[in-house]
Symmetry: C2
Subunit: 432 residues, 2 copies
């Protein structure tokens, strides 16, 4: 009833929920708008005849001849598959909205309790991501606009230990201390992470509430972070995000699907068996001192980062994706990209010391307080200790950007592989 | 440089910033994508050659033959005119995101100070809403995606008094006490309101920060409320919003442009001269006890409201916009729409006791606390005492919905008319 992205789009021809068979080419009486199209964006999925009549009534209004047929397909009906060998929400092109919710499990939740919780969450996520109400959905009408909803689960060491203490990988622990971090416990740690992303804020709110209700009997919210990027359809797809400092942020990032990405992000044979096809997530809450940043002039800002503000091109290049030339020098012999520049410091000579970023901006509406704005820095890699830590150590040692940014939260999660129908997230952790 | 909504769309032909004249029909070498189109969604407006190159580079990528030309126009470039006889953001179809920021003026800000502040805010708003950087924009690249940005200014009595104590209309005061309200000072009152709406959350954040910097020398943020609706393009245009209780919310609302709307919302000759062409805003923060609501079954919920949850149709009708029949009875003689039902209580026999609603959902990411979710209820009317208060008194006396909702914030603002180029918001308040 909703549009699925991918090669086997059921919209391509009349399916079981399109008995009239009008789902293929447009109904000639209603140019550009099929009945199925009406449902895509409506709140109709999984509801009764009443919802159908509502959507039909809307359709009539849309189809009055006073305005040309809308060319824009409604993106609210787009879905990302939930079941599969890998979890969605990592390679998925970043949705506009994200909520990261960390849960502390109650003391008395044992392996069996964890299993029950994970099955509940898996079942409801399988439904919600496809635009269907959760099992005990108290607001089923809010479920009908999936808008590319994904829920990605991460396990803290505290969860894994309850099931199998021997299954905790070495990197699943708090990061080593960095001298510049100012970590607050209220933004750090957690036994279980729900990373909820969608192109619609109400979709995120509804999914978070439904999954939050699943969690209640088993644990309590430790922290929740809300993030945003540009809205869906506001910019060309594939535009690199800008952060609240105005920088193009995330240019140098392995491309999902590339060989690099496979090797760097996904856990292969070298990892613990239950995590093969999974990854690791380092989540850092990075506060920005925007007032101080704003006192710096543009050349100063560009030198601090090593990229132009206008388009993100390295100071030695002309386009965003040009490879920086770290050897280039000015006529006076100074490096064009300074020794302290962020892009130089963030890069290691070791091609394995890399990770995949999928960050989000955050901002408090009031604009007040030291933590009023910043970046939710989400880094995915097979082994945080081997890949993330050496880079962070380089930045901790020297990075001019440190003048304006500071990590105030930090957490590490194991992101298990996906699962098939009938299974549940993290099932490989449990003895058969 | 950005697309304007309205009859005089400068995109219709090559304009001054389209010297190549390719802005009309599509460039035949690049089917479906004009150079102008590239700029619409990019962060290019008002920037230099670097930005142009960045956008051009993006264009190249979009135009690789591996994917079909995008049919969806990018909505990030859409703009709403700022200058005009009425402020935008009232009749404007509601954008997906809103931030309401109330400011308390410093004690020493006199009429001249108010004038300077209003001129600053007007000048920057005129720029930002058209996709151009603010005058001293510290992150000009964030300004290039206006996404229908509107900033609507509201004046509290505290502001008007500083300019002309005789100009405060009788209704510009805190509402009378209602027995069920539980108002918190931190969500109530304020001398100046900035209602910042756009279809993009980063656009809202950037505008709020730039305007917030204008305000700093003159006052401090008293409260800020962040709201959301469905994202742009996720549903058919004109779909009535749903609130976090899952209800269709806002069906019975005067239609912008209608005779009713003109009479009810805009202040005419009967109002103070400086407010003619303006309106009044009552902003209420209404917390919802969603857990209690979720314990109520669907028939109970529908009875409480008087509408079906599935599509918002009144219990006596079949479609959302059917007129409720308050006289209809069940076979046993009970009213089909109960005496305590919200839609019955919210309606007066006096056709002038009505107002225009343009509300937003709010939710705390953590989902914790009594004020974790609710509605930012924004009601516009020419005279709050004559139009809003009698309805609110009816609801205060009897409305089953009161079991689950409670007002925790309340503020009233005068929304002055718009102004032309060279003028500033509220200019009519100042002696010539």
């Amino acid at each position: 009833m909703v549009r699925r992205d991918g090669p086997d789009d059921p919209d391509a021809s009349g399916g079981p929920d399109d008995p009239g068979g009008t789902g293929g080419p447009a109904d000639p009486a209603r140019p550009g708008l099929t009945r199925r199209r009406l449902f895509r964006g409506g709140a109709a999925a999984g509801l009764g005849a009443g919802a159908f009549m509502g959507a039909a009534a809307l359709g009539e209004r849309l189809l009055t001849p006073s305005r040309p047929a809308e060319k824009e397909p409604l993106h609210g009906g787009r879905t990302v598959p939930y079941h599969g060998s890998r979890q969605a929400g990592v390679e998925t092109p970043p949705q506009a909205h994200a909520r990261f919710v960390a849960v502390d499990l109650k003391k008395d939740v044992d392996a069996e309790g964890v299993r029950r919780l994970l099955r509940l969450l898996s079942d409801d996520t399988a439904k919600l991501t496809q635009g269907d109400p959760a099992l005990a959905d108290s607001e089923p009408e809010l479920a009908g606009v999936p808008a590319r909803l994904t829920v990605t689960f991460g396990f803290g060491a505290g969860l894994v230990e309850r099931v199998d203490p021997g299954a905790v990988p070495a990197w699943l622990a708090p990061l080593p201390e960095f001298s510049r971090d100012r970590l607050a416990p209220e933004w750090s740690g957690g036994d279980l992470l729900l990373q909820i992303c969608a192109d619609d804020p109400l979709t995120v709110a509804h999914a978070a509430r439904m999954l939050g209700k699943d969690v209640r009997a088993f644990g309590a919210v430790r922290w929740a972070q809300e993030g945003f990027r540009r809205s869906y359809g506001s910019q060309p797809e594939g535009t690199t995000m800008r952060n609240l400092m105005g920088q193009v942020d995330g240019t140098n990032n392995p491309a999902p699907g590339s060989e690099d990405f496979e090797r760097l992000v996904w856990i292969g044979d070298e990892g613990p068996e239950w995590l093969r096809g999974g990854t690791g997530l380092v989540l850092r809450r990075i506060a920005m001192d925007l007032d101080a940043w704003d006192r710096l002039d543009r050349p100063g800002r560009e030198e601090a980062v090593g990229r132009r503000l206008s388009d993100g091109a390295p100071l030695t290049g002309t386009r965003e994706h040009d490879e920086p030339d770290f050897t280039a020098a000015t006529p006076l012999g100074f490096p064009k990209i300074a020794e302290f520049a962020h892009i130089r410091r963030a890069r290691s000579d070791d091609p394995d010391e890399r990770f995949f970023r999928r960050g989000y901006n955050y901002e408090a509406a009031s604009g007040d307080g030291a933590d009023s704005a910043g970046l939710i820095f989400a880094a995915y890699q097979a082994d945080a200790v081997r890949q993330f830590v050496p880079i962070q150590r380089r930045l901790d040692d020297l990075d001019l950007l440190n003048e304006w940014v500071v990590a105030i939260g930090s957490a590490v999660f194991a992101v298990p592989p996906g699962h098939g129908e009938g299974g549940f997230i993290g099932e490989g952790l449990f003895a058969p």
